[in-house]
Symmetry: none
Subunit: 197 residues, 4 copies
DNA sequence: TATGAATGAGCATTCATTCAT
DNA sequence: CATGAATGAATGCTCATTCAT
């Protein structure tokens, strides 16, 4: 009966799933988990609210998927930076520059993480993903900083704390950007002054 | 008419109102406006949910009162800094040091402002208070930076943008601290590197 | 210790009770049982809401007392009419004229009875009082009409039904008056056309 | 997109909306606006309380819809009477006879109007609809009476006041009927005696 | 007595989730 | 797959009633 091969069907389904995920990312970023309504997400994705549950069993699962997506983006960024044949300091600069690009998607990821972090009601799956993210970003960053310190490029101090400070500062700037998109974005070069020797 | 002196009654009422406000500050800081439940606030204040409405007509009014309190705290801090007989740069250091103290209350104020800023559902009164806060902090800060630039203490660049960057960074660090209270707090001296000449 | 004799105290208490009852009559008349708030009544009586419960154990009891008062007023009116040394028709005219006077108090009684009759949630005590009122008004009225019919003054027809019609019409006019106090009041002479032979 | 034809869906929705409206009419008639509970209406309609809000955004809107329905019924009745090729007096008789039919629906409409008129808490929309109703009924009725007076069929007197008296009386009788459905209904011929020359 | 703080049951409303079509 | 009707748990808010002062 089906005119389309199963693979094509599966692909369409996957595309639709991505649409929902994208819509959810935007809505969660703007409203946070609790205030975001399934119907907001459905509207943003151009489908009915009932259909959202065909792709994601629950609002919580959808949120977890968005978080997971963010975490994987960070993982990928860090992996890319580590794979480049450059100095540790240049890797830091590279990471900063990507972060600073602040595409809408990146801002949304950051805002979601802020919401997920600051909200106390995040479900367990989300908590775990956030912890994983924390480690994923913090550890390689500390390593990069430590490496850069050895080469004299980075300022002295406990690399772990510097990494955290850098993460906090980056997050603060990203929030600011996300909230005021039109505003002149502080150059990431400024942020690097935190770490520069 | 009352068997108790009116002044005392009024005083008790005011105290209780402050208790509720404090409880609300904490809950709003941890959960944001929408996710915070009146019953959470009531529990935190050790009273029944009905009594919360005895002191504040609505959740929105309570939130607005908390925001107002934050705004006034900032106003006061800026005013104190401006009143001190010190150089512009020392004023910046002073403001940073107070901000960096990170009493629970200060963190809560910052988190609330983050929530209120990032959440799309803040009511109109709150939006206005936030706008006022934005101006209250940004303008004097820009002035301080400009002054410090003239004395050569601060780095070059548009004072307005530097002020915004500094605010974003401070907010980011405060969030980080609020979320991980046990963690070693990045010294505010680090933050000053952003501005130092 | 008490500077006043017990009797005087009792009298004051009784006066205050009447104040509350009067206030309640007005509020119940304007809002009905459910919509009337104890605090409305307290405000109207110029006392605190807590004090209302010193005079009446509950809102329901207060309502019952108001109804009781109405019932007794009707009883008294009917009794007065029956005691007068006049013809049956003149008694009908007398009752109509008193009803038509429409002092604020009389209107309020009527509106309360309408509310109590039309509202389904009246408590048992109230139901009983209303039934009693129904009989109290209906029976003597039927008797008066029957008497007037025998003397040829009243129109023919079952006296019981004529009495009910008259009561319904009187109530309708009273409602109209109560709702539009400024408006020219239809003369009760009009109402008597219903019964006149 | 929908697997069911849109027209059919719309029709079902409209039917269900009418069910809710009917249930609401009965409950509002018996209890008045404040005392009527959404859950009462839902039970009467055989649906869950949540679904009521699927069809009407709020209790107030539902009440307004019921009132609107009443107003339109009156408009239609008056329009029909005016369209008939009969004398003014016959038109009055016709209106009385329809009113006197006292189907459950008509009684409910009248009781609702009484509740809405006597209750002080009716929302603004309702107030406006009632004012409109007042004019809609009063003006054409006055005109009819005036016309009937010119033909000598109606009693003398200010047509406006007679119209009001007639409305009040009709309302009173309708209340009486609605409250005691089993009782012998006073003939509307009786009411016409108010107006007959 | 008199006040008003305090409680909690009750109601309107919202929204995630399910499911018939 | 897709829709939206339907449900009911959850939440803000009101208000009768109690009670410490």
């Amino acid at each position: 009966m089906s005119p389309r091969p199963a693979a094509r069907v599966e692909q369409l389904r996957e595309e639709r799933r991505r649409d929902v995920l994208s819509a959810a990312r935007g809505v969660f970023a703007r409203k946070g988990f609790v205030a975001a309504k399934i119907s907001d997400i459905a509207s943003a994705a151009g489908i009915s609210h009932g259909l959202v549950h065909h792709y994601f069993p629950s609002k919580e699962a959808l949120f977890a998927a968005v978080i997971e997506e963010s975490v994987q983006g960070w993982e990928a960024l860090i992996a890319r930076a580590r794979a480049m044949p450059i100095t540790a300091w240049e890797r830091l600069v590279y990471v900063c520059s990507i972060m600073g690009e602040s595409s809408a998607v990146a801002s949304e990821h950051l805002l979601i993480i802020v919401h997920a972090s600051t909200g106390e009601d995040a479900p367990q799956t989300v908590r775990e993903a956030l912890d994983r993210l924390e480690r994923l970003v913090h550890e390689p960053l500390s390593a990069l900083i430590e490496e850069a310190q050895r080469s004299g490029a980075a300022t002295a101090g406990p690399p772990g704390e510097l990494a955290r400070a850098w993460m906090a500062v980056t997050q603060g700037l990203a929030i600011s950007q996300a909230l005021h998109p039109g505003r002149a974005r502080p150059s990431m070069e400024l942020v690097l002054r935190l770490l520069k020797a």
